[in-house]
Amino acid sequence: MERKDRMLGAAAVAAALLLMFLMDVCSAARGYVPADGAGWNVRICADGEVWGIWPLDQDREVGVRTEDGWNKVCIRDGSVYMEEADCPDGYCVRQGHIQSGLDTIVCLPHKLVVEIVDRGDGQQEEGADVIAR
């Protein structure tokens, strides 16, 4: 590896670490999510449109069926995870639990994004065609 290669590598790593640090600062500025999720919401967006919003501190399962496919989102004990999906890659299920204010679960094939948002970001429950147990 030549000197310029090392410089490029170092610059890339430094930029990544700096961005990670800035994201942490951003996240802290928005306030930390308590362990039980009180005061925060789970927002599911499909194809760029809000599909529904639910409180993070209430356990439930949400089935999302779009023309792209089927996903089952679970809210439990102040965290969210994708329990099942019929997408070809299955990345969304393997992404596991999220519980911080900047985390997202993405199902790229289904154009689905699950995110944790401040309760101020949306109060109303507007989930259509939703299975909530």
Partner: protein, 177 residues
């Protein structure tokens, strides 16, 4: 060697490299490197693009990469995966062609730039597809990962380039890699 012979050789090289790239793509489908990050993969097939850049014209490398992406997209891909592969492949190739012109940047640095821009292209495509800017939060992780895979592919490419002979002559005899 006549012009016709040269053309035949070029076509043969391109077809051979495209075939090797297809096999690498298939290997990657068989053994997916799962990091839980959408779109992150090792990109073993990119090795062919990196190696090709050092003894073919950029246009020929573009042809090989395009053939590989379309063929493997139709054969092993699903849904939108072709779009991500195209975005990643185009960004990566453009970055590598430009970086190769920088004096003092070896094949490892060129491949590093390719890895970084491959992930950047895929991320931008993903943001456009799901229409959610929040995906940019995957940027730093993908940047780190792209750098790492770029270095690995670069080291492998260097090993290949050191032994490969084109028309009986070692590539490294008349150019710096």
């Amino acid at each position: 060697m006549s012009l016709q012979d040269k053309t035949v050789r070029k076509v043969a090289y391109c077809a051979m490299l495209a075939a090797v790239a297809m096999i690498f793509s298939y290997v990657e489908v068989l053994i997916p490197i799962d990091l839980g990050i959408p779109g992150a993969k090792l990109g073993i097939a990119n090795l062919v693009t990196v190696v090709g850049l050092y003894f073919l014209e950029p246009g020929e490398v573009l042809l090989i990469a395009a053939a590989r992406i379309f063929l493997s997209g139709f054969m092993f891909g699903s849904g939108m995966s072709l779009v991500y592969s195209l975005a990643g492949g185009a960004a990566s190739l453009a970055a590598m062609v430009l970086c190769k012109k920088i004096k003092g940047l070896s094949v490892i640095g060129v491949s590093m730039a390719g890895g970084i821009f491959h992930n950047a292209g895929q991320l931008v495509a993903a943001i456009l597809v799901v229409k959610d800017l929040r995906l940019s939060f995957y940027g730093p992780v993908l940047l780190l990962f792209g750098t790492l895979t770029g270095v690995l592919i670069g080291i492998a490419s260097k090993k290949v380039l050191l032994v490969v002979r084109v028309e009986g002559q070692k590539i490294t005899e008349n150019r710096w890699i």
